[in-house]
């Protein structure tokens, strides 16, 4: 999680913890909704990879 770029961390938090809509996140982060979706997707995929590594091989 620490390895995520700041922007991705913020967007991930706003979506998955605060449960805000894409338009709200775009407004807060001063970016487009398309950018929000791309950043969110990248962040989630990185987390998924980390989770699977963690689950399969233990602490790295």
């Amino acid at each position: 999680m620490e390895t995520l770029p700041e922007q991705q961390k913020v967007i991930l938090h706003l979506r998955d913890v605060e449960q805000l809509s894409f338009s709200e996140i775009a407004k807060i982060t001063n970016t487009s909704q398309a950018n929000v979706r791309v950043s969110l997707s990248r962040a989630r995929k990185k987390i998924k990879d980390l989770l699977l590594i963690q689950y399969n091989y233990g602490v790295q």
Partner: protein, 144 residues
């Protein structure tokens, strides 16, 4: 919900294409006791979000729901909180995994010892059988 449906929904989720409603159903599923074994790795993730979500209402990071006022610095601080929680969740899952491996190794050791004992018993049995055989040979020799 069925495994295949959740798996498909997870695919959409990781592509960043789920609606808030779909994400809510994922959270409900992964925070229940009905999670399919094949989807267990994702429990940690949704558990971390759930904890972080509860945490935000306790402290100063609470979102003003009426006005939806949310400053970027607050989001950054909150992102740090979620990072911490996720790291803790990762460590927790690693600890569980280590404990499971330890248990498996202990079970393996126990099975090895059991096999060794069984082999010993079998060897004793074979030795006894060979003695019986020898006895039978000698008995037949003298009692013809």
């Amino acid at each position: 919900m069925e495994y295949s449906k959740i798996k498909d929904l997870l695919g959409v989720y990781f592509n960043g294409e789920t609606t808030l409603e779909q994400e809510k159903s994922l959270r409900i599923y992964f925070n229940s006791d009905m999670v399919d074994l094949r989807l267990k790795p994702y429990v940690v993730l949704f558990d971390a979000y759930n904890k972080a979500s509860k945490e935000k209402y306790k402290g100063s990071l609470a979102l003003d729901k009426k006005n939806r006022v949310f400053h970027l610095w607050t989001a950054r601080a909150a992102a740090l909180v979620i990072s911490g929680i996720a790291v803790a969740a990762f460590m927790y899952s690693a600890t569980i995994k280590a404990a499971q491996e330890k248990e498996a190794l202990a079970a393996l050791k126990e099975s090895k010892e059991l096999m060794y004992l069984m082999a010993n018993q079998l060897n004793k049995g074979t030795k006894t059988l060979s003695l019986v055989d020898q006895f039978q040979v000698h008995k037949n020799k003298y009692l013809k």
